[in-house]
């Protein structure tokens, strides 16, 4: 318990109960070597973006080991599914991942549709793609700003928010909300787009392409940023595979794995788009990859808006409130901004779900952190944590 003496360096008599840590700290501290310091990052730490808690053992500025502690934002979304009907469960999804709610929305609605064998009108499929991709862009923008803020640059997040506000304005027209959106319904989407939506979206695509050039000049080409990220926190394909990492982290490691192309859903097969991989498996690679993904998403949005087919946005006999899922089991996965978002649904034919398992990409991605942060500087550990793009409600569910 050498580390605990450190916090009482003056030898002042202390209440023995007042400084002993909780279960995690005590169990963590046992392995601490000579001259190391146990530091709790979080749950209220500015760079953990919410209530993630990371216990790190520091030797000077170097992280000897780091261990995330979860559960501060556990809201029992899976348990809630067992007492809710599929209809009542739709808004829960926006709360799971507040940055990319529409992907979760899609995963849940898609799982129910797959189980019930519901076909969705083509126009609705197009609108699903457009809204999901716009939402992915806004999620990546938010990540971009927050990540640079972790590195100490406070200004870019406000630039990112400017674009994010525009996306929120667009999505608000159809979803009615700006944060925990739920746009999808069983058998289609809740509302058709109007002229304003079409106009704003078409304006937004070239606008953001211009702005991405400014981002490059302001942040990406900055020598301080490059030096901070190059070679920091390499996560190779093997590490990703062992921990089940998906999404940009896996693609930055060089593997072309994207649910949109590997297990196609919706109408993604109708569009020509690039699934970027690489350029490197360090923090800079993940940074560049996410910016490249924004451009790929812009391509999809542009094509989808250009070829929006006419027709209804929901099937005629869409399920009503008292709808019962047929008995069975299914799994439906979509590509979220952070990786594969999956809903494993079991129904016994009753009013409520029998059991729902939410596959959150952030949970798997976070498990890489302990290994990647071993032996790096504290500032690098913060950069690695930021490059994982964690959304804590999604990690804890």
């Amino acid at each position: 318990m050498n580390s605990l003496n450190f916090i009482n360096p003056f030898g002042v008599s202390e209440d023995p109960g007042s400084y002993v840590g909780d279960f995690y700290t005590d169990n963590f501290a046992k392995g601490a070597g000579e001259g190391t310091l146990i530091l709790n990052l979080g749950p209220q730490h500015p760079s953990t973006h919410g209530v993630l808690r990371v216990i790190v053992e520091l030797e000077g500025e170097y992280v000897v080991r780091a261990e995330p502690v979860l559960g501060y934002l556990h809201r029992m979304h899976e348990k809630m599914a067992e007492v809710k009907t599929p209809w009542q469960y739709i808004p829960n999804m926006g709360r799971v991942d507040y940055l990319h709610p529409i992907a979760w929305n899609w995963a849940q609605v898609g799982a129910c549709e797959r189980l019930a064998g519901i076909e969705v009108p083509e126009r609705a499929e197009y609108l699903r793609v457009v809204s999901c991709e716009l939402n992915r862009i806004s999620s990546h923008l938010m990540w971009w700003g927050a990540f640079v803020m972790d590195l100490g640059g406070v200004t870019p997040i406000l630039y990112a928010f400017e674009e994010r506000e525009k996306i929120n304005d667009i999505l608000q027209i159809v979803t009615g909300s700006r944060l925990t959106m739920s746009y999808f319904r069983f058998g289609g989407v809740s509302a058709d787009v109007d002229d304003r939506f079409v106009r704003l979206t078409k304006e937004f695509v070239p606008y953001l392409r211009e702005r991405l050039k400014m981002y490059k000049a302001l942040v990406t080409d900055n020598v301080i940023l490059r030096r901070r990220l190059e070679g920091v926190g390499p996560m190779d394909a093997d590490l990703c595979r062992r921990h089940g990492a998906t999404g940009p982290i896996l693609r930055a490691a060089g593997l072309k794995r994207d649910t949109r192309t590997d297990a196609p859903y919706g109408v993604y097969h109708k569009f020509q788009y690039n699934v970027p991989t690489g350029p490197s498996d360090d923090c800079l690679g993940r940074y560049m990859l996410r910016l490249a993904e924004i451009e790929a998403s812009l391509d999809i949005v542009e094509q989808a808006m250009g070829s929006l087919p006419p027709g209804p946005v929901r099937i005629d006999k869409a399920p009503k409130a008292g709808w019962k899922l047929p008995a069975g089991e299914t799994y439906f996965a979509v590509e979220g901004a952070r990786g594969q978002v999956g809903v494993h649904l079991v129904s016994d034919g009753g009013k409520n779900h029998y059991r729902v398992k939410l596959r959150a990409p952030g949970f798997s991605n976070l498990s890489l952190f302990a290994e990647a942060a071993r032996g790096v500087l504290l500032a690098d550990a913060i950069a690695i944590l930021g490059s994982l793009d964690l959304v804590i409600p999604e990690v804890d569910r």
Binding site: I7, L39, Y159, R227, D380
Partner: protein
Amino acid sequence: MDLSIANFAQIIIACLLVIALMVGNAVVMVYVERKACGFIQRRPGPYEVGPRGILQAVCDSMKLLGKQIYVPGNIDWILYFLAPVLAFFPVLLLYLPIPFGRHLTAMNVDEGILLILAFSGLGVVSNILAGWASNNKYGILGAARAVSQAVAYEIPMIMALLAIVFLTGSLSLTEIVERQGSWPWQWNIVVQPLAFFIYLVSLVGETNRAPFDLPEAESELTAGFHTEYSGMGFALFFLSEYANMLLVSFVCAAFFLGGYKGPFMDGFWWMFIKAYAVMVFIVWIRWTFPRVRFDQLLNINWRWLLPLSILNLWVTAVIVRFI
């Protein structure tokens, strides 16, 4: 310098004026920094309190005054309360040799810059004490960073200033300003651009401002050495940070930018204009760049600034001696 009654009174009055300047500077800089930051981030900045938000600093200071002083458990009481005071008061002394005009100096000592350099070292003591006494791990990490950073960046800073001292042959700031002319091409920045650059980088490092704000790196150490200070304790650190910024800007203006001399009409206003231009520059880079990592910070210093400043000093010495 003889210590007569008149001299003593002069110093007392000067100290009072300096306190007024420090507080006034903080009030101005709170507004300037928030407005500049707002401009850079494309938002209005403060605009609710008073016309165009100019009373924002008053509200900020009232908030700090009214805040509960939260004292963490198991601290070293004496050092904990001594540290903010130690951060604030030595800065007073540093303003005394600053020349605002040919005869407008609180204490026209021949060794002015020596006094400033000697006493500016006290600032880091307060950082160590604050980090150590507040019984906080973030505080200790911040204090450790503050020490190595301050020690590292003081050396190239002194070297850069020494190059000017070699040129002038005097340690007195008034003398150094007097040797420069009124027009920009007669200033020391023209003959010593490298020293100016080195000084500019190390003054950001000395004042713990972004991108070198490692001792209080927000995303890593929450608030570094002043994590556990609230209310007036924090306010004193805040005041001393701005006071230190203004001081290094004054020194910069006196050494490199012609001090109180300027086109058309010499006077203390030139000193203020130049110093605040440097301050705005510091604010500007703070809100533009991300933070460097700690090993990079030290590498910049030991690998680049120090050899460059030694080289500059050596070349200057050779030129002064033989030409």
